[in-house]
């Protein structure tokens, strides 16, 4: 297993306020990592920083992807390098159908024009797996979609874009029990030894399929505890209170 992502001493500020305060994280290919933490701990901030959202300013620290320093790389270059973020609140883009959007995104990240028919066949197969009606491919991206449909569309994009690192930001929020199962099964099937998954979640249901290799507890902008999947039970039983002392 080779190193895929390395975050070193990362400090992130938003509107002048420091959110991440020296975060270290290493993810190797083939691994699944879970970030857990109370609301406002900085979990989504970490994802946005890795993806390169300009709102999140790196005040110190570096981010490496496949050994290359991407701390100052623009968002699209990170996407092309193989980083994908499934948004907690996916944005609606009127005027462009789901199929056209993903096909163009795929052409862009892969550098190869996607032929319509093979692409469509694959898209429809993925939609079937996600139990999405094929008519969604013709609809504008996320426009008028329910919360669950938007999350499924994010996973559909992941399957089609085939990133090396997938970051799932509370992909299970707003999903019913069946949808959580479908989404987690699809992510699990996509996951293999050549790609890695980084998950933010507050619920353990999604982890029944994803089987994390590492669980990290993020408190007040720092990872205060890392461990294996057994850490989830500890958190579920005791909450985050026990870790707060370690964050001081």
């Amino acid at each position: 297993m080779s190193e895929l992502l390395r975050v070193e001493g990362l400090h992130i500020a938003v509107d002048g306020k420091e959110i991440l305060k020296g975060l270290d994280l290493t993810i190797n290919t083939g691994e699944t990592h879970v970030i857990m933490g109370s609301n406002g701990a900085g979990k989504s901030t970490l994802f946005n920083a890795i993806m390169g959202n300009p709102k999140y300013v790196v005040t110190a620290g570096r981010i490496f992807f496949e050994g290359k320093d991407i701390t100052d790389a623009p968002v699209n270059e990170r996407a092309k390098a193989g980083i994908f973020m499934a948004f907690q609140q996916p944005i609606a883009v009127q005027g462009i159908s789901v199929e056209n959007f993903i096909r163009n995104a795929k052409s862009t990240v892969s550098g190869q024009q996607q032929r319509i028919m093979p692409f469509r066949r694959k898209l429809h197969a993925q939609m079937e797996q996600l139990k999405m009606d094929k008519s969604y491919a013709e609809r504008y991206v996320n426009d008028g979609f329910s919360g669950g449909e938007r999350k499924k569309t994010e996973i559909l994009q992941m399957c089609m874009l085939e990133p090396k690192l997938t970051m799932l930001d509370e992909i299970d929020s707003g999903l019913d029990v069946d949808a959580v199962r479908i989404v987690s099964e699809t992510v699990s099937q996509y996951h293999n030894e050549t790609n890695s998954i980084l998950v933010i979640t507050h619920h353990s249901e999604i982890l029944q399929h994803l089987k994390p290799d590492f669980v990290h507890v993020l408190i007040n902008g720092r990872i205060v505890k890392s461990g294996d999947a057994s850490l989830i039970q500890t958190i579920e039983a005791n909450g985050y209170e026990a870790f707060r002392g370690q964050a001081e």
């Binding site: 993806m51 390169g52 959202n53 300009p54 709102k55 623009p74 968002v75 699209n76 990170r78 996407a79 092309k80 994908f84 973020m85 948004f87 996916p90 944005i91 883009v93 009127q94 005027g95 462009i96 056209n100 959007f101 096909r103 163009n104 995104a105 052409s107 862009t108 990240v109 024009q113 504008y140 994009q157 874009l161």
Partner: protein, 378 residues
Amino acid sequence: MAKDKAVVQYNQLPRPTFRWMKVNHLDLEPLAQQSVLSYTPAERHTGDAAVSFYTGRQVPELGDFQGANEKDLKKALNESNTGCAVTVGDGQKGTVWLDYTVSAAVPQITGQLSIQAGDHSDLTVYLIFDGDAAGGYVNFLTYVKTGEQAHVKISKVQLHGHHVRHVEHRYADAGKESTIDYVSAEIGAKAAIVYYKTDLMHDESNFNSQAMYLGNDDQIVDFSYWVPTKGIKTNTDILTTGALLDTSKKYFRGTIDFLRGGKKAVGSESDTCILLSPNVHSISVPLLLCKEDDVVGNHASSAGQIDKDKLFYLMSRGFNEAGAQLIIVESNIRPVIDKLGDTDLENKVLQAVREKMQFCYKKGDCHAKCTQRFPHLD
């Protein structure tokens, strides 16, 4: 504009507001008028529509219709060099395509189009304006009259070159329970000035207008609407949406005039503009005038830079900033383009939009990005 310069006023607000706001009308320099040459547009039609061309005037008196400019309107009424009458009889259905092309041979078109739709009829007119010529000028009057429960849709695509001043005066008189739909794509011309007045004097008559624009260079796009409503349960829906590049300007003046007696009328107007440069101007005056209590009126206007969250979302899918901006602009205007109803025309408009966006970014480091700038969005 300097005070000592001669100016022509266009699109005067029907109910002017404070002068210091500088929104009552558009001032432009006068354009040299050339001799009027006879002209016949390219035409085809299907269904029951009857199309004939004429010289002189076939449009009736238009009452207090002021047009985009009184003098230009008078000229279009009385000195037209191209007249076209489109009619569909009671219960008939038809589609007409009319293409008016400005060229060096015919740089100026002064024309009129008279559309008469009988009761229960259904007519679609595709109106295309294109071509370019030095001193180009289009001064065009469109007259629409619908019978009871008739439906008339005019899909207009304006793709003139940058030397043309395009002025359209559009008047419509909607019959009882009839619907008039306008879908417009104003892409070209140095100045694109459109003045719409639709009288909703009959019960349950409907007026819907959707227009998109994309201004670049020093282009001016000026929309003016005046919709007096006196019929009961009339419905008005006006939407303009677009984006501005470089130093272009857009004016939107929408006046929905709820007159006494027009009970249970519903009217809404909205104007959305994406500002792609700090030097553009977007001026919006959505007015609701009300002399009747029992009505519902909504107006909205928004102008702003690219939504940063949307930009981040798109860039996180691999699109560079220019490509993401194009997608956002397209996402803003595509719903209107998609309603034009003719695939060839829709594609023409999309292509023109993408060309304009490319032109904008040629000023920057374009070669490194060009391969991604125009993702094949179709």
